[in-house]
């Protein structure tokens, strides 16, 4: 990636890259959920990005950054069940709404605002707190990083968000789950990172270029 500007096209690319990353890591994500949950997280996330595919394809003509994010929101909220589907949908919806207010290119402020609102919605609906071993543990530090990056470029801010999210992923490994299916396992799920948290990290990491593995070090764009 050579540009720091997130216009409609670049945001569209981001969503595409996220989709490819999900397909590439689907089996690993599912394996994580198998150890700590019911083994379908990879499938659910892949179903979401696959439902978004046609909507992204159909996006003819010049669009703003709100549109690709909105397509993701629609697909995840309307077509995908499970726990993670609508929660990811709420994040995309809030990001899309904030992007719509920020003009033809994404601003760091809009990203921070959208992610903050998304996190709030996810917590309202899912009722999880930080430390419960859910995707909230990745999204919370990601939001903090975006807010702290005020003044930096969106690409830099998103890279910081990815770093924060990966740190959150690492933290989940040592936690005992209190929410989600992993909570039924008690201590037995400890040592295993939360799959939903990994999904959040993948989302931010894919903003800045190709990510090849479930490693907590995104390639800078």
């Amino acid at each position: 990636m050579t540009t720091d500007t997130f216009d409609g096209l670049r945001t569209h690319d981001w969503m595409r890259r996220f989709a490819e990353l999900v397909y590439a890591t689907e089996a690993e994500l599912t394996a994580l959920d198998q150890q700590a949950g019911d083994g379908d997280f990879g499938t659910n996330l892949a179903a979401g990005v696959s439902a978004a595919g046609p909507l992204l394809d159909r996006m003819g003509g010049p669009v703003g950054p709100a549109e690709p994010l909105g397509a993701m929101a629609t697909a995840f909220l309307d077509e995908i069940g499970g726990t993670s589907g609508p929660l990811f949908g709420l994040l995309f919806q809030a990001l899309s709404r904030a992007a719509a207010g920020s003009g033809p290119t994404l601003t760091t402020a809009a990203l921070a605002e959208g992610a903050t609102q998304g996190l709030a919605a996810i917590r309202r609906v899912g009722d999880a707190s930080p430390g419960d071993k859910t995707l909230v543990d990745a999204l919370t530090p990601a939001v903090a990083a975006l807010r702290a990056a005020e003044g930096a470029s969106p690409a830099t801010a998103l890279a910081a968000a990815a770093d924060g999210a990966w740190q959150g992923v690492r933290d989940t490994a040592s936690l005992t789950a209190r929410m989600g299916r992993a909570s039924y396992l008690g201590e037995r799920a400890s040592g295993i990172p939360d799959p939903g948290a990994v999904g959040v990290a993948l989302f931010f990491a894919s903003a800045n270029g190709a990510v090849r593995a479930l490693a907590p070090a995104p390639e800078p764009g």
């Binding site: 198998q34 019911d38 069940g81 726990t83 609508p86 209190r178 909570s183 396992l185 008690g186 037995r188």
Partner: protein, 332 residues
């Protein structure tokens, strides 16, 4: 390795739903766009539509219980994943009665979220909607589980009782209250000696050593929070039934309904053996076993395990349970 009989990855559920729709076309109608099932016959006295749903892989739950005397609609999701909110919203609209629609929801985060979003949309559309949250699983009754007890085997009993009640013309709030009260008088425990095969890989979802048992599994093939040795089935059933009775404490005259439920690949021989052991435990404790079911009613794909559910059927519960029913999976 035990490959699923399917056409390709992802085809398992959609192909099953269309086969089910054809097989039971006399009892249920299938909405091919939103993928829900509705009952072809329902009592004229019903003022509230009864709707349930959840991940697939628990058959005959829920679509098998759509029909006269039980559910008006069921929304099947992907394997072990809640249906999405649009599906629930549309199905609710299709079966809402003059007093609205009652959602019977198993307590799982995904189901709560998706049914919750659908309920908001229904309120928006002016359709009255209430919810019964089924949370019968004793194994998840712990301080550490903020999500609360899981919804498992009792779901079909609650659906049956509410079906009988709805056919008397009971209103929405009364049904919701009854459902909550009935649920609070149900507890379930499950154990498994082998995991289900994950559809994605054909491999067992987890491994167990010979003679080991997952004690306290749910219905999604997740491991339990502990492993114990399998031992004699009599001792196992005594432990399980004892824990259920300690939680429910039925009075000596309370009629109790027992569900001995296979999770998928336990044989009928074993289920009847388990029922025999349960009967002995209940007799010894002077519990009045009023009704019972033995078979595969709420499954976890092909998990090799079983669950025991006890329901204390006080008040009118037993009459509602006994009321006539005609669905693909339950008829009397």
């Amino acid at each position: 390795m035990a490959g699923y009989f399917e056409n390709g990855p992802g085809d398992l559920v959609p192909d099953a739903l269309s086969g089910f729709a054809r097989a039971h076309a006399d009892l249920v109608a299938h909405d091919p766009v939103d993928g829900f099932f509705t009952a072809r016959h329902s009592s004229a006295a019903r003022r509230v539509g009864l709707l349930s749903g959840g991940g697939s892989g628990h058959e005959p739950l829920h679509a098998g219980y759509v029909g006269a005397g039980m559910l008006d609609a069921a929304c099947p999701g992907r394997v072990f994943a809640s249906p999405h909110n649009r599906q629930i919203f549309r199905a609710s609209g299709a079966v809402a009665g003059p007093e609205g629609v009652l959602h019977i929801v198993k307590n799982y985060t995904g189901d709560r979220i998706n049914f919750g979003i659908a309920a908001e949309r229904l309120a928006d559309a002016g359709i009255a909607c209430a919810r019964v949250l089924v949370d019968d699983d004793l194994a998840s009754d712990s301080e550490g589980v903020a999500a609360g007890r899981r919804g498992t085997g009792a779901t079909m009993l609650v659906e049956k009782v509410l079906g009988g009640a709805a056919d008397t013309g009971m209103g929405l709030d009364a049904l919701a209250e009854l459902g909550t009260a009935v649920t609070s008088r149900c507890r379930t425990l499950a154990a498994a000696s082998a995991a289900h095969h994950a559809p994605a890989t054909g491999e067992p979802a987890f491994g167990l050593l010979p003679g080991e048992l997952e004690y306290g599994v749910g219905i999604h093939g997740e491991r339990a929070d502990r492993t114990r040795s399998q031992g004699r089935v009599g001792a196992l059933v005594e432990d399980m039934a004892g824990a259920l009775l300690d939680a429910l404490r039925p009075g000596p005259d309370d009629p109790v309904v027992a569900l001995v439920n296979g999770l998928g690949s336990v044989t009928s021989l074993e289920l009847y053996g388990i029922f025999g052991e349960l009967g002995r435990v209940l007799d010894a404790r002077r519990v009045r076993l009023a009704r019972h079911l033995v078979g595969n009613y709420v499954t976890a794909l092909d998990m090799r395990g079983f669950s025991l559910t006890l329901m204390v059927a006080d008040g009118d519960t037993l009459d509602f349970y006994d009321a006539p029913v005609r669905t693909p999976a339950l008829s009397w």
